[in-house]
């Protein structure tokens, strides 16, 4: 084992990690907002909005993310309106294109995940809230969204982990995130195995940490499913503060 080489590889990959995390967090953030919009349209009574959302979800779940990314990266510049608009300086950036296509794609998946969460909200609990004088945004914020989110969280966790891995595709539109830097190192050193092993290890560590955070959130949100004696707030309260 050539430890000095592994160490220098790790250093180079770690330097690219903020880019990967940036791609990931921005696309989850904007994709999440987009998903809220799409799911609102998807469950609305307006037939145009509903069908638009259906079509959106079908297109972005049904086609390869890599092709979506190429279309955004190489395709948008073909439109004069876009090339001459104020967003062009941003859209010319590979990083922005990658975030945009990652967000557009996860928006479709997340919308479906949120919708399955909404469908799991017991109608009786919504009726009880209406009977208590809740409606509109208050009803959504206090009753529907919290219950739906709890149901959606396991599937949403999976989507988040998939997104960490999907950021690797950004290397193909010249974003120097972990995978891109790994490929550059390989082309310089021809040591494919070692470099890719380091990159894979880095993704595993990232996902391990992200899954820990998600598990903590899930644990905290699912208190209502555990018997009172099983509730052990010790570790959690260190992270989130005690409620007592």
């Amino acid at each position: 084992m050539d430890f000095p080489f592994l160490l220098s590889t790790m250093k180079a990959l770690l330097a690219a990690t903020p880019t990967t995390l940036g791609l990931f967090s921005l696309s989850i953030f904007f994709g999440g907002l987009l998903a809220l919009l799409i799911v609102t349209m998807r469950v609305s009574n307006n037939i145009v909005a509903r069908n638009f959302a259906k079509g959106y979800i079908f297109v972005f779940r049904g086609s390869p993310l890599l092709i979506q990314m190429f279309l955004v990266f190489y395709g948008l510049g073909q439109f004069g309106v876009i090339r001459h608009s104020f967003v062009w300086p941003a859209l010319r950036e590979p990083f922005v294109c990658a975030v945009l296509s990652l967000a557009l794609c996860t928006g479709g998946y997340s919308a479906e995940i949120f919708r399955s969460g909404l469908r799991a909200v017991p109608p009786g609990e919504v009726e009880a809230a209406r009977a208590a004088g809740m409606s509109g945004f208050l009803l959504l914020r206090r009753i529907i969204a919290p219950i739906a989110f709890r149901h959606a969280l396991p599937a949403y966790s999976t989507e988040i982990v998939l997104m960490v891995k999907s950021t690797a595709l950004a290397s193909l539109v010249t974003v120097w995130e972990i995978t891109g830097v790994a490929q550059r190192l390989i082309s310089q050193t021809y040591r494919t195995m070692e470099v890719f092993m380091c990159a894979a290890a880095l993704y595993l560590i990232l996902n391990f940490l992200i899954l820990q955070v998600l598990a903590l959130i899930e644990h905290r949100l699912n208190r209502h499913d555990r018997r009172p004696a099983e509730r052990k707030p010790s570790v959690l309260s260190a992270f989130f503060g005690s409620r007592a």
Binding site: P122, G124, E125, E127, A128, A129, R130, A131, A132, G133, M134, S135, G136, L138, R142, I143, P146, I147, R150, L221, R223, H224, D225, R227, P228
Partner: protein
């Protein structure tokens, strides 16, 4: 008795498709009235209660709560409340207790009880918590306030649901078969709470199959049949043989069923 009724229902009609479930129902509930609504399954009792607080919208008729009529409008989508604000406000005056409890599963019992007072009525949290604790004491589950609904027995859940509706200080409480989902040994604890409320002159409209409650606690019994009020009167009159032949047959049937159980 010229006081304004707490609840006045005038000529409510409701159809689901071609099926006319309520065929003109009227009723006044005065302060302290405890009205038992009896009737065979499918006679429209739940639909009647749900039309009162507009969980279902009646096709025709008026609802007046404490002298205020719920204003309605008719659009191409059908009939609905004209003002969501008015409806929300009137709903806080109409408590509802469901057969299946419908406590909010993501909140503790205490959180369930202060939810409406804090977030709908916008009253100070500390005051609501103090009142909620007193209510939980009253229904006998003070020690369960930090439990989630999933960890309570059916009887405890229903008592929590009653406390939740009391927390809004409603003018009338509607009960839709509050003990029908309970194991027989848990029915008593819920009926005891309801009997206490009746003794405190809470105005209540109770759909029930508990003949003991109808006979001994309520001051008026209504018998529904095929979407209409078939007969009504005091429990003494109704159970003393003055109800319609259909009602006589109904109570005979209920009694044999209770004997069999």
């Amino acid at each position: 008795m010229s006081a304004t009724p707490r609840l006045s229902v005038r000529n409510i009609r409701k159809s689901f498709g071609a099926h006319e479930v309520l065929r003109g129902i009227s009723l006044d509930a005065h302060d302290g009235d405890v009205i038992s609504v009896l009737g065979a399954s499918g006679s429209g009792k739940s639909t009647f209660l749900r039309c009162i607080n507009l969980l279902e919208t009646a096709d025709d008729g008026d609802i007046v709560v404490n002298g205020e009529e719920i204003t309605m409008k008719t659009t191409s989508h059908g009939r609905s409340a004209a003002s969501r604000k008015q409806l929300d406000r009137i709903r806080t005056n109409l408590g509802m207790v469901f057969q299946s409890f419908n406590l909010w599963s993501h909140m503790t019992i205490l959180e369930n009880i202060i939810e409406g007072p804090v977030h709908v009525q916008k009253r100070p949290r500390a005051e609501c918590v103090a009142e909620a604790e007193a209510l939980l004491e009253k229904v006998g589950i003070a020690d369960r306030k930090d439990y989630y609904p999933a960890h309570l027995s059916g009887g405890q859940k229903q008592r929590a649901a009653i406390a939740r509706s009391l927390a809004m200080k409603p003018k009338v409480i509607l009960f839709d078969e509050p003990t029908s989902a309970l194991d027989p040994e848990l029915v008593g604890e819920v009926l005891r709470v309801m009997r206490d409320l009746a003794a405190e002159k809470m105005t209540m409209l109770v759909v029930t199959h508990e003949m003991g409650f109808a006979r001994n606690v309520s001051n008026r019994v209504i018998f529904m049949r095929e979407g209409q009020i078939d007969c009504d009167g005091t429990p003494q009159d109704m159970f003393g043989g003055k109800g319609s032949p259909y009602f006589q047959q109904f109570i005979r049937h209920m009694e044999t069923e209770n004997d069999a159980a």
